[in-house]
Amino acid sequence: MTMRAEHQITAGFMPLFDSAVLVAAGEMGFAAREGVELVLHRETSWANIRDRIAIGHFDLAHMLGPMPLACNLGLTPLASETIVPFSLGLGGNCITVSNAVWNGMAAHGAVSDLDPAPAGEALGAFIRDRVAAGGEPLRFAVVHPHSGHNYELRYWLAACGIDPERQIEIVIVPPPFMADALATGRIDGYCVGEPWNSAAVAAGIGHIVTVKALLWRNSPEKVIGARKAWAEEQPEALAALLRALHHSARWCQDKANRDELAALMAQAGFLGQKPALQMPALTGHLALGGGAERTVEDFFVPFDKAANFPWKSHALWFYTQMARWGQLAHTPGNLAIARDCYRPDLYRAALKPLGVALPGANAKVEGALKTATPVGSAGASLVLGPDGFFDGQIFDPDEIDAYIAAQNPGRSPQIREGR
């Protein structure tokens, strides 16, 4: 290609499978076709991504869904105002425990079927036995305090009667170190994206007990976080990139491209793990440990089900969990900040020229769709959901006060200073 790109965009990403849509946009020519030269930088921590966005090294980045909210709400140091114009997919995480914990759960009736409720029940029984015998609390790891992983792990435990604040300990471990920390006994379990669960199973050191797709079907995970000041200065560059990401996401979803995508993500500059280890994320076919296998529908959805639409209701659910676990105080001011962070208007404006199906609403009631449902949309047809929570709860973004109150019975939210 001799033509000079119209726009230059620098983006950061972490070595996780759900960076695939961003990576493929750059590597498979989708960005170039939209006149964007996309320069990708692999990072070693979410803190580095945040810092490099703040000082202008990166224009945008692969981010944890709650991370831009945390930046705008002043929960992190060195934050710059960050917006979310695109979601990088739905689902993709698992909860994995050590073989010792799995054996303890199995003794209390757990079976390898990924069903969250009975697995949580067995874990609760195992924890009570352990405490009665004077054992240390179990230690679980997540990748970041402001992550879908932290909130879904806590949601699962709390719904199964385990208090994640008192009955277990939650620590932070970088994704590529999870399996190693499990093997050496520094942690007893974790919630992380692929391929870091399959890696533990392949090494014979862990057992997958449940998956994000079964805790909350078709739920939000990683997003594109863009520096607001940059997005306002370069609206055309952003719109061109969003179109490239749209084409890339469709390519990533297509079964015919699985081998090529797995080979791309396996490269040393991206994940640096064997292509075979990328396949569970793509097929939903997981080895769980001890020879058990399961295929999970909608395990990771990079494109279908309006996966790339930045629903405000997704951002607001993250917000309710921040309030639930004392990361912030639920106030009208904070709620307004959370409401403004995800930008479906930018997504819609960028994709409108393509004539593709676009949701008409900015938010939806989460957990209301029991089956895949065609919805009215501008232009072509669109299918959403199912989007159920495993405990049957419903999140109505118009009833936030009630939702937070119901989740915090008797708990006065502990206010942590924003820095």
Binding site: S45, W46, I55, I172, R186, R419
Partner: protein
């Protein structure tokens, strides 16, 4: 009144760089300097050391874990914040560019910390320069080795003198508009595929 000396903790997996920082801090009169190369058991160490300033390299994948620990003050006794002086964007940029970050206990005056951060930034930059020069020297050596091997192959297979072999490599490179090292590498690879022409 002279303020009490600051306790500084340096977390860096790179031992050489860590010792360069440590030496810089000691030269600047900081006597209470601790260097840690890995983060296992770090909460306990921080509780013991009670650092006023923590300097950490940005390549460290444990930054997220450390920041989370700093925010939960029960693990570290005194709340620790990232060193951020909003009025001094340039020094934040310089630090990130150099690949270093600093955290300080809340309430510590910026002017006491800034010299430490500036020193860390300049030493990180010096270290990167040194590492780059070393890498270039290593590449240069590799480059020469491969040209020597290519010359050897040509001398043996075509009966050329060393000078003639080098001239042939250089001419080929010029004709194909490629680097002589690339031509030499291609020749060595091809020779390796075709059989044991070399007697090494």
């Amino acid at each position: 009144m002279v303020p009490a000396s600051l306790a500084v903790l340096v977390i860096d997996e790179n031992r050489i760089r860590a010792s360069i920082i440590e030496a810089g801090l000691r030269e600047a009169g900081h006597q209470r300097v601790t260097v840690l190369h890995d983060v296992s058991g770090i909460a306990r160490r921080i509780a013991e050391i009670e650092p006023d300033v923590i300097v950490i390299d940005l390549e460290n994948p444990n930054r997220d874990m450390l920041e989370n620990m700093f925010q939960l003050s029960r693990a570290v006794k005194r709340p620790i914040a990232m060193f951020v002086d909003r009025s001094d964007q340039a020094s934040i940029e310089a630090a990130v560019d150099a690949g270093v970050s600093a955290y300080v206990v809340d309430g510590l005056r910026q002017e006491r910390v800034k010299p430490i951060l500036d020193m860390a930034v300049s030493r990180f930059n010096a270290f990167s320069r040194m590492a780059r020069e070393l890498e270039e020297a290593r590449n240069e050596l590799e480059h020469r080795k491969v040209i020597d091997r290519a010359k050897g192959i040509l001398m043996k297979s075509r009966g050329l003198s060393e000078e003639a072999a080098y001239t042939l490599l250089r001419k080929t490179a010029m004709n194909q508009n490629r680097k002589i090292g690339d031509i030499a590498q291609a020749l060595v690879t091809t020779a390796g595929l075709l059989g044991p022409l070399e007697d090494e």
